[in-house]
């Protein structure tokens, strides 16, 4: 299945990308996606603190992904 991964702020700067398409095995979890990102983009591993959002909702590492999901890597927020 295919998902889109979005990067923001420090995550965007480390990966040099604001968005990428990723192919994952069926029923892969958020954790599997993170593992794949880390091995494919070593600089991503330098992002020490972040949450993950799936389809604009914060998600656990164990959450299953589905084809077409929009996944976002959310570094610590600092709006306001």
């Amino acid at each position: 299945m295919n998902v889109t991964v979005k990067f923001f702020a420090l995550g965007r700067e480390l990966t040099g990308r604001s968005e990428m398409a990723l192919e994952l095995p069926e029923a892969a979890t958020v954790q599997a996606l993170i593992d794949q990102l880390k091995s494919a983009h070593p600089r991503f591993a330098r992002l020490k603190s972040y949450l993950v959002a799936v389809n604009m909702e914060y998600a656990d590492l164990g959450a299953p992904l589905h084809d077409g999901d929009e996944v976002a890597i959310i570094p610590p927020v600092s709006g306001g």
């Binding site: 979005k6 702020a9 959002a53 927020v77 709006g79």
Partner: protein, 136 residues
């Protein structure tokens, strides 16, 4: 009204969006860019957002405030992009029949916004650029 905008924020527009005639009490919060941050002078800020999710999360926060404090109308505008010292980063306006609720709801919205809404700021200072991490 909930907006993530690259344009300068007009305070009156946000207040108008939160205040029907006879709204009673309106509490407003305005956050501006300061020239000092954690002990060092800064030149400017750059705000970045995940705009669709930011708007969705702000909407959820506003709905929660409406339930808890009898909020009639609320409006939130958050700026993104490059901001100079003194410029407005965020305006929140809340109207309620009674004033205590207006203050509490407005403070709740800015507090939660800072905690969970996917917006980031980078400080550009004499010693370089830093993504702010208040939670570190």
């Amino acid at each position: 009204m909930i907006e993530i905008t690259a344009e300068k924020i007009e305070v009156q527009k946000v207040i108008d969006a939160a205040c029907a005639p006879e709204c009673g009490a309106v509490a407003v919060f305005i956050g501006t860019v300061r020239n000092f941050s954690r002990g060092k002078p800064i030149y400017r800020l750059e705000y970045e957002a995940y705009p669709e999710m930011a708007a969705k999360k702000i909407q959820e926060i506003v709905e929660e405030a409406k339930k808890k404090w009898e909020v009639r109308k609320a409006a939130v505008s958050h700026r993104v992009g490059r901001l100079e010292i003194g410029e407005i980063a965020v305006v929140i306006a809340v109207s309620t029949p009674h004033r205590q609720n207006a203050f509490q709801a407005c403070q709740f919205i800015i507090d939660r916004l800072k905690e969970i809404v996917p917006i980031w700021k980078k400080e550009i200072a004499v010693d370089g650029e830093t993504w702010v991490d208040d939670h570190a």
